[in-house]
Amino acid sequence: MAQSETVILDHLGIKRALTRIAHEILERNKGVKDLALVGIRSGGDHLAAELQRRIAEIEGEDVSLGAVDITLYRDDFSTRGILPVGKTDIPFPIDGRRVVLVDDVLYTGRTIRAAMDALFDIGRPRNIQLAVLIDRGHRELPIRPDYVGRNVPTSRDEKIHVEFDESLQPIEVRILKP
Amino acid sequence: MSILIKGGRVIDPAQGIDEVLDVLIEDGKIAKIDKGLKGKGEAIDAAGMIVTPGLIDIHVHLRDPGYEYKEDIVSGTRSAAAGGFTSVACMPNTNPVTDSKSVVDYIVGKAAREGFVNVFPVGSITKGLKGETLSEIGELKESGCPAVTDDGRPVVSGELMRRALEYARPFGVTVISHAEELSLVGEGVMNDGFVATELGLKGIPWVAEDACVARDVMLAEYTGARLHIAHVSTRGAVEIVRQAKARGVRVTCEATPHHFTLTDEAVRGYNTNAKMNPPLRGADDVAAVRAGLADGTIDAIATDHAPHHIDEKNVEFNIALNGIVGLETALPLALRLVEDGVLSLNDLVARFTVGPARAIDIPRGTLKDGVPADVTVINPNLEWTVEPQKLQSKSKNTPFGGWKMKGAAIYTIVGGKVVWRRES
């Protein structure tokens, strides 16, 4: 059990970070042409929906939105055993698209590896970019985010928790110290 | 050479004896039964024990000649002795079939030389058990067969069964019927009923047994010959025999410990040690068999001791061979009936002694002065656990492994000789 919890990002802080990321995505990709957002279940899919909303507010256009479940692409199946399989739901062809993968917390990078493998089983995007709300370090793979809400230095025994409300809006980010 | 069995509760239903007495054995014969007897030789303190005429099992498969990898006359009779039996009647489905004097001579000779208990070979009704022509029943009788049967198979032809009864009658040979109507058995591998439905196994309906029992009982009535029905397992079969006896038909029957102990529920898990023929039946059949034992409709408890090699049981249920070993578990299973109040100890001893002896007319089953001294001393309170690997039989195919038992033979005496003494 965690001994102490500290809120490192509150509701307003998350809103500002997501708004900034939306702007950065549009700036880097020069608009919404061929753009697609794919959230990683579960957490990243809710944030991707938030980003879609903000991009629509800024550009007045809906960008394609999908979700990917990486359970079947995990590299720890033989040690972790079964986990519930979520649904991968990408209702548009990703061939030739600029796909922004969205996740809540970037840690070792293994989840992102799995998500990229999942995307390549579905099609061949033009490029893949990575947006995360929190980057907590400790990478085990050569993976680097393109858009970061906040960098949070952590130790390995700490946990980062992103809280969502019932309407799947992000409320706050807490750090749990042992 | 004498043995004095002192202070046991002597039960000999043939003579109506049931009291604490001493039994003196001299020169291989029962010399005297009385109080306060003295003897020079071996003394057995039987205080608290039950002393009975040697138990008789008229339905065992010794598998010798031909299937010695399952059992032979030595191991089979050792298993019998360990179970308290002093006489067994062995079935003719040997290889070659026990359908001729030479095979009977072999069995009788080997049993006399190497066997632990008395062996009465049962000859086949038909040559080679083929159900086509009668065996030489006269010569079989002369060689030592008190009875004939095609056990394992029914005599399919009603006509041939009629002739067998007519032919056997003047020789004083009992015809033993393995009663099943094969066309109703079909491909069945267990009792037809709810458990078979659940397990998806083909069923053998009780009517397959009842129909053939009815036919053979009527043929016995028609011919006036002596008929014995092997291993009755259904409510209907018991009732048919009960009514026939009331009409004066010369019919007797036997039931096995597994048929009065287990139901077809034992098959669950596809337990091949619960596969036998007749199959384990439903609870109402078990109750009827118990009632038949209690009221004397069923004359004898017989084990249908059917040793099989592990390779013949360790297979898919539907191809596993039928039968279980029974000699070493029969007595404690039967004693449970007394504990359950089904029948008196006296009646139980009768089903193991005078009942079977009369069914196939062998001069055993009593402690009358001057008869060969076959005696079983039973400790009714001895508690033990069935460990299949420790059975004396060569085969270990029992569904009772791990069962806690109460009661065991502690001395088995055949012809005045102790052939089995239970350790501890």
Partner: protein, 309 residues
Amino acid sequence: MVFRHKHILGIEHLSRDDIQTILDTAENFREINSREIKKVPTLRGKTIINLFYEASTRTRTSFEIAGKRLSADTINISASGSSVSKGETLEDTARNLEAMHPDIIVMRHAASGAPHYLAERIGCSVINAGDGAHEHPSQALLDLLTIRQHKKTFEGLTVAIVGDIAHSRVARSNLYALTRMGAKVRLAGPGTMIPPGIERLGAEVYTDIREAIRDADVVMMLRIQLERQGKTLLPTLREYARFYGLNQENLKLAKGDAIVMHPGPMNRGVEISSYVADGNQNVILEQVENGVAVRMALLYLVAGGESKE
């Protein structure tokens, strides 16, 4: 997630939650089957042996595709093409297979209980792909998935299963699964094909197909196999079709939105008329499609074993 089954030997051993888990997992596997690249790496390095002692095209193929789409190595052994026809005992076959270290054996056998026998003697997981007249769990689960897609829930549904109930493993597994999920099951067939005591498993038994399918939400027809079931059970297929076959007429007795199912292969004109088999109420090909997803779910759940977190 809790799924504590090393083997899938029958629906009898599965709880309501287990069935729910399998169906939910299968539902999410369906998406993979509609992709261009129909493969995920989950069971990479796992070896699955399809050990089929009975001819079966559809179940074997379905399991094979399911294994391959999960990236497992799947090997097919059929009775005719292996040592089993040379009289090797099942135990020896099991030992030999075990020496090759498979992770899962999918077994079809004519003897009821054969997969149980195997499971008791082998270290790897065993999935029953149909044993004698006993169980066919993956078929029942794909049937349930299909029913759930159309009816959303099982509570309060009436499912009529018509045919040779006595010799049908599909009927038994469906009976267990449907009653466990809260559906009402009616069984119907000729008197020779109703096994004793089946009502004790929670079914209502009918001998008139019209009564059985009246107001039913689902009508499931079973395959009649005269050659396997012997000549004594039925006079003719013609008469069977007349009294126990599903046709446009008697189907009208079922609810208007009733779905028609068949585990296949169908005997058109016997247990099911072509009009019904091809009609708009049939979901027969959906069953086949769901079969792959359900079998993927079973392989996934069995291969992973208990979640360690």
